[in-house]
Symmetry: C2
Subunit: 395 residues, 2 copies
Amino acid sequence: MRDSTNEVLRNIATQGPLSRAQLARDLGLSGPTLTQATKYLLDRGLITELEQSPSTGGRPATLLGLVANAGQLLGIKLAEDHVVGVCVNLHSEILWKFEEPFKSRGEAAVKELTNLLRKQVKRVKGQLLGIGIGVPGVVSPLDSSTADSLMLGWTNLDVGKKLSQELNTPVLLENDVNTLSITESLYGHGRDVSNFITITLGRGIGMGLVINGELYSGSYGAGEFGHVQAVSPGALCECGKMGCLETLASSPAIHASAVTAGYIRPNTSISKLLELARSDKKIAHALFKKPAEALGIALGNVINVFGPELIFISGEGVGAWDLWEPHFQKSLKASVVSTMNKFEIEVDPWDDAKWALGATAIVLQASLSRNSNINSQSVEVKNRLRIASASGFSA
Amino acid sequence: MRDSTNEVLRNIATQGPLSRAQLARDLGLSGPTLTQATKYLLDRGLITELEQSPSTGGRPATLLGLVANAGQLLGIKLAEDHVVGVCVNLHSEILWKFEEPFKSRGEAAVKELTNLLRKQVKRVKGQLLGIGIGVPGVVSPLDSSTADSLMLGWTNLDVGKKLSQELNTPVLLENDVNTLSITESLYGHGRDVSNFITITLGRGIGMGLVINGELYSGSYGAGEFGHVQAVSPGALCECGKMGCLETLASSPAIHASAVTAGYIRPNTSISKLLELARSDKKIAHALFKKPAEALGIALGNVINVFGPELIFISGEGVGAWDLWEPHFQKSLKASVVSTMNKFEIEVDPWDDAKWALGATAIVLQASLSRNSNINSQSVEVKNRLRIASASGFSA
DNA sequence: CTTACTTTCTTTACTTACTTAAGTAAGTGG
DNA sequence: CCACTTACTTAAGTAAGTAAAGAAAGTAAG
């Protein structure tokens, strides 16, 4: 297959329906090359001709769009006690969702997950391209298979390989914040931005980095934003260090500080705590000023080094963003050097299914990306997309 | 010209003499392709056949090396009151050096620099590929021509274009810390490392980032490490913010704190100050503990986010590294998360000519890099290297 | 000193992935 | 109706790679 075919598919998938002429301009290719590439994709049923766009003085362009049912993807979000998942088509339209209890700790975890997913895989009608799993922890960038996660109680656990063998389907793991970053980079505002940062607030504080349009994974991992030192001397973090940002600004930390101050009892829920804070400005100030300032300074420092165009803020913690924002904005402004003060901030309302949706994006990314032939799983996903129509299932 | 030809030239330039067979293995190309590519480069006099490497059981390999005199480069380091420069051949051997007084402030600065460089350009025998200039400040990544520098008193000054027109030679500007990073990435320990960080200590505190083997310049610049917030509330920095790392750990800041403490008088030199600190442990402790700890924490936080393999520490300030190190190492260790604690640190002794040498590296980089066709200057440098032998000057 | 083997490099013939050139298709505006 | 524009197709050619085969230049063993 031609190099360009992949680029064409990628552009149609991410930008929506496009004409051949437009694709040629975007990709810097000649007309004939596009005729060739699109013929290949049309033959295989991956794309289809749609309506014509109105003429601009000459022959009107025929738009080409992705065939939604040429493939389906499963996206999973793992938590300590449950699993959320979605099945989507190539338009990233959710076909169905599921949520099941799951114990991530203990010997039987992988087996339980296997059985749970086997049920879901059976429900898929058509070509299943692969399963993407978002993990709250560190995933090896080499194989997208082994995971370390404090939250799940996993140390160097090769989940992906086992699942993939048992289910006979490509399985790709990725850090859950990174899946969110890829979603933004494929579909969100990050689509036409080459350098941006995603941060997530919640039980932990995470960061995903997109550099030159690609997810950055560092040499030994990246984006351990929750464990930058924010206060000195500070409290002991579960990572073993002192004064991490998480000890100050994670939701458990804020909850704990409210308990210590006597505003709530230890078993009061987070939502009750937020209600209380919204009803009493003094309490809001006492609970959120320090964390929000620490977050602003820490993020400002990353911006000074990284010079991004865009910052996404997400995670379950953004439900309380109104309480963070004033202090955060002030300290962020004060810590960023003036030449870099041009970035935009986008706060994304949090949604449980969105994370699972993000996990499907890593599979799609693998099938579309230029340089994702690193591991066997990605290659297999690509192959499945190519031969989709050959197996004769498509609508 | 083939895509591979550039890769071949790049590998020979950076790795030293190599055989065709070795290059084929390194680049993942077939024998015929290498025969073709090397024939092109040999015809043009850019490379030459050297001695044969001893046989390993078969036909011995013929080594191919860069022809030193196929091109020459000028590298300049600008300071507020003087200019240091070197002329090197393609082996990066220094042919001659110069140092001249120069007033960076005022209307006449560019004209003075032009005249000063014109003299040097005339001294070059052979093909001058281009002039690289390291600037203590921010250089626009778009054109490698306009510079902002507090230290030189320049705001948005388009130096490169004017010099290039007057001297009829490609001129590339780059931040001086970045030139150092490129030097490490081309010739130094950073050669086989894809993600590393360079920091410099001195009048300011700088940072260069190499990501995926390429210099990272951010969307609005990058590496403003001297202006991350290290202390709150902190002293006013010349950048207008409060509590920047530079207000604590730059050499003027340390000097000032020694004056305030009454150890020295305002006009005592830095070297006298270091003598004093080395003779009295208490003074060393009082002057260097806080800055070194702040540096350790700030760097640790960057490491947590970027996960690099290697850290270079350089700049005129490393002359006092023995005084920084103990406090620095301790706080760095304490702030980096355990999974990323695998990086190495290399402290580079500082040398005035090395910075100028670094400036030549950006020109060489432009002629060798895969994707440096962004601006006209880089393209011109490439052309000059290609047609070098055609003009019939070579040895 | 021949013979067998290894490794390096070159030549030839082919493939792939594009291109340019020329023409067809289908609209617009005078 | 006819010139003009824009979109797409067909045909032929080119650039840059590959694979296969062989020549060149060494080592190792009998």
